[in-house]
């Protein structure tokens, strides 16, 4: 129920009165989106595929597949086809690579283009926000401006934001970043061929990718190793070397980033929804509802988190849920169940404070329903506190997922996962194949540091008077994994 004041003009009209900044912004946006239109449609197709896959009986799978096939044909800027790196040496020059440069160079160019494009899009979005704020917003100032400004002055938080964005881009553009694809190199290596220059016969020969993998594994000493930033015997470039089974490590790592970040964000999202709804209910009705929630959440919090995760993963090991996305769905569900009490606990206090405010009484006496009061008058004030806690917990979840996969309980093959790669390379750390274990661990350390720094920035921006936050400190650790 919004009352229109005299000064309020619809956004459309405000833009029409001063169209220039909006038009410039829209034109840049059209270019940026245009060069990637095919990829965006592909994502839509993939998402449709995910929905179909999760539904029982896979209805409409054929329609989705034809859609995906149709979309594949649209050329895009940031793609393996435009900047190809998988070529071969024919004795005098490279064949099939971007502009005929070496595969390593072509790959590097593509990585740079991907990041440049992604940062351009983010810059465009930020610019859109600033344009809106300067030219079209009805008011000069909102409390949210202060939050944004505080964050812009928070160097440590910005450092975290940049690291976080780097990893998010890695996850989003995973198919374009790898020197090879999941399909060809990791899932079905025996269905594809690769050409290479055979030194002995002085000829270009073809070999199945699977067989080439067998000959280029990293298992310690001497010729059984493909180090980072080198080519293997089949002329394929490996930025991070190969795994023990000869599959490209970098490709697995970028897809591992996708898996880890998705699990962390989705499970925190579900736990956040549960925690927020419950906080609204307990703060609104108080009394018995609150006592019951205290009891349940205290009991769940009194359980050792890692042990419960291990136990639940073992209990549901043989079920169909575990089959979905190699265990990712199960992990998300388990993490949501285990983590909501922590979220609820962290916002219970603010929710209570809000429920004592006069405007809640006013809303009630206006005859608004409980759910309206909770959604419109209470939740927005508590949401930011939840954001603080959730952003500080993401790193812990990433560590836990890696730890569980390291124990062989989390994400199972063939889906790549950082913790499992560490376990694979464990016995070769002291050998020339040190990269298999070391690099995933470094990536985890980097992304968790970045997420924690970002969380610190969010906390200081939203709530400058936040206390030392002992609970959130514990959340950032990952329960000891």
């Amino acid at each position: 129920m919004s009352t229109t004041t005299e000064t309020e003009i619809p956004l459309r009209q405000r833009v029409a009165e001063n169209p220039q900044p909006a038009l410039i912004w829209a034109a840049i946006g059209a270019v940026l989106i245009g060069v990637e239109l095919g990829a965006i449609l592909q994502v839509v197709g993939v998402l449709a595929g995910v929905v179909v896959n999760l539904l029982p009986g896979d209805p409409g799978a054929a329609a989705v597949q034809s859609l995906q096939a149709a979309v594949d044909g649209i050329p895009t800027l940031v793609s393996r086809e435009t900047i190809a790196n998988q070529g071969y040496w024919d004795g005098s020059k490279y064949v099939g690579t971007f502009l005929g440069v070496s595969p390593a160079m072509a790959w590097a160019v593509r990585v740079v283009v991907v990041y440049a494009y992604a940062f351009a899009v983010l810059g465009w979005l930020w610019n859109g926000y600033k344009t809106f704020r300067r030219h079209y917003r009805r008011v000069d100032w909102t409390p949210r401006d202060d939050v944004v400004n505080r964050f812009r002055g928070h160097t440590w938080g910005k450092f975290g934001l940049i690291i976080t964005i780097t990893f998010v881009i890695m996850a989003v553009f995973a198919p374009a970043l790898g020197p090879t694809t999941m399909e060809k190199n990791i899932l079905q290596p025996y269905d594809y061929e690769t050409s290479y220059w055979n030194e002995d016969t002085q000829n270009v020969e073809t070999v199945l990718v699977g067989e080439a993998n067998l000959g280029s594994g990293s298992q310690g000493a001497g010729d059984e190793n493909v180090a980072p930033m080198t080519y293997d015997d089949y002329g394929r470039f490996h930025p991070f070397g190969t795994a023990t089974n000869g599959k490209d490590l970098f490709t697995q790592l970028v897809f591992g980033a996708r898996v880890s970040l998705t699990i962390a964000v989705v499970s925190m999202g579900i736990a956040g929804i549960i925690g927020l709804s419950l906080a609204m209910i307990t703060a609104y009705y108080k009394g018995l509802a609150d006592f019951a929630a205290v009891l349940v959440s205290d009991s769940i919090q009194a359980l050792p988190v890692i042990m419960v995760l291990i136990l639940m993963l073992v209990v549901f090991r043989g079920t169909w849920v575990k089959e979905l996305y190699d265990g990712a769905v199960l992990i998300i569900l388990i993490f949501s169940i285990v983590y909501w009490p922590f979220i609820w606990r962290s916002i219970r206090g603010p929710a209570f404070q809000v429920s004592e405010q006069d405007w809640i009484d006013a809303a009630k006496s206006f005859g608004q329903t409980p759910s309206q009061v909770m959604r419109k008058h209470m939740a927005p004030y508590v949401f930011s506190y939840m954001l603080i806690y959730a952003s500080l917990s993401l790193g812990g979840i990433i560590i836990s997922v890696a730890g569980l996969s390291y124990l062989g309980l989390g994400i199972t093959a063939p889906t790549p996962e950082w913790g499992r790669l560490i376990a694979d390379g464990q016995q070769y750390v002291a050998s020339p194949s040190w990269h298999i274990s070391l690099l995933p661990g470094l990536l985890i350390t980097l992304v968790v540091t970045g997420l924690n720094a970002f969380g610190d920035g969010i906390r200081d921006a939203i709530d400058p008077q936040a206390d030392t936050g002992s609970e959130t400190e514990a959340a950032a650790g990952g329960g000891g994994a």
């Binding site: 009891l295 349940v296 205290d298 009991s299 769940i300 009194a302 359980l303 050792p304 988190v305 890692i306 042990m307 419960v308 291990i310 136990l311 639940m312 073992v314 209990v315 549901f316 090991r317 043989g318 079920t319 790193g395 560590i399 890696a402 730890g403 390291y406 124990l407 309980l409 913790g419 560490i422 464990q426 750390v429 002291a430 040190w434 274990s437 070391l438 995933p440 661990g441 985890i444 350390t445 980097l446 968790v448 540091t449 924690n452 720094a453 206390d467 030392t468 002992s470 609970e471 400190e473 514990a474 950032a476 650790g477 990952g478 329960g479 000891g480 994994a481």
Partner: protein, 349 residues
């Protein structure tokens, strides 16, 4: 409400928490799709034997009666027997064998975390925005972000390779006393320590040093997460206390620097550290699974992990119950410490 009434209420609240937590465990292991009988029989599964075992173990009885038996046994500390890992061995015997190693590991991780983390944090807080503060703070943050299991693997490698890297100048294995890098600590010397010490003081000390050296790398890794936490909280707490009015007043009154730091800053800065220190119990229990796996220490975490993957239901239930008791006990300890340290507890409800 007085402080002690508040404390008593917290203690009473922990009883339903233990009951409910144990119930969750029961629900997980008995209502879930895990079949204990096929776990016991393994590959020699046949319906007849399965039925036999089922009736022997009382799995035919209605679920509620199994539940009450389960709860009654645990709460009267009849902890039952292992079914799969060590059939016929009582949980008591298993815990007696495995627990000392975990306690030894936990003890040293707490010591390392407390005596490195808190002083570093306080030092950084007393010298804010200096290069050493930045190094300490940044180091603590990165240290905390490293996964324990990965850190453990890297440490094992580094220690085993030290000899090769330094051309044999320094090897961890032969340093002070000869040990392996990856090994369970030999804790035999703790059995009847006084008599052994009397009989052979030198040998006893030797064993003590050996066991400490054996556990040191694992304890360093396990203590790392809480060490980082304690450092950060310690730094913020000191910073906040320094800038508070009562410290200003004390300084104006001419309180000496030493007394100012120890009496006015240190004690107050400890208050926010209490939950971090007691919260270590969670990190230690959870982390013990990983660290014990990497360092081949067969302690409680290792025992729980193996009980879980082998579907050893009574052992899982018992260990979970004990872990819950430990954690609830630490929570009560935390409330007790609050009650003692902070006179404000209980006044604002």
């Amino acid at each position: 409400m007085s402080r002690w009434q508040y404390f008593l209420r917290r203690v009473l609240m922990s009883i339903p928490v233990v009951i409910f937590g144990t119930t969750i465990t029961f629900a997980l292991i008995r209502l879930g799709p895990l079949d204990p009988v096929s776990a016991i029989l393994g590959t020699q599964y046949n319906p007849q034997a399965a039925e036999q075992i089922r009736s022997n173990l009382g799995l035919n009885q209605p679920l509620w009666s199994q539940y009450f038996d389960f709860m009654y046994d645990l709460f009267t500390f009849q902890l039952g027997q292992s079914w799969v890992i060590a059939p016929g061995t009582t949980a008591y015997e298993l815990i007696e064998v495995y627990a000392p190693r975990t306690i030894w590991l936990g003890f040293w991780s707490v010591v390392i975390a407390l005596f490195v983390g808190i002083p570093l944090g306080f030092y950084a807080g007393l010298n804010p925005n200096t290069p050493s503060d930045y190094v300490a703070s940044f180091g603590g943050i990165v240290w905390r972000a490293m996964p324990n299991f990965w850190l453990a693997i890297m440490l094992v490698t580094a220690l085993s390779q030290l000899g090769a890297w330094t051309n044999g100048l320094f090897t961890w294995q032969t340093w002070i006393i000869k040990t392996n890098v990856v090994t369970p600590p030999a804790l035999g010397f703790f059995q009847s320590p006084i008599e052994r010490f009397m009989a052979d003081p030198g040998g006893w000390f030797n064993s003590l040093i050996r066991a400490t050296k054996q556990i040191a790398p694992a304890a360093l890794v396990l203590g790392s997460a809480s060490m980082g936490n304690e450092m950060r909280i310690g730094r913020t707490a000191v910073l906040e206390t320094i800038n508070s009015n009562y410290v200003e007043t004390a300084r104006a009154k001419g309180v000496s620097g030493r007394s100012l730091v120890w009496k006015h800053i240190f004690r107050n800065a400890l208050i926010p550290l209490v939950p971090i220190i007691t919260g270590e119990a969670f990190l230690l229990l959870g982390g013990s699974v990983f660290v014990e796996t990497v360092f081949a220490i067969n302690g409680l975490g290792w025992l729980f992990f193996n009980a879980a993957i082998n579907g050893d239901l009574p052992l899982i239930g018992t260990l979970m119950y004990i872990f819950i008791l430990i954690l609830v006990g630490t929570n009560i300890l935390q409330d007790f410490l609050y009650t003692v340290i902070d006179p404000r507890v209980g006044y604002d409800g």
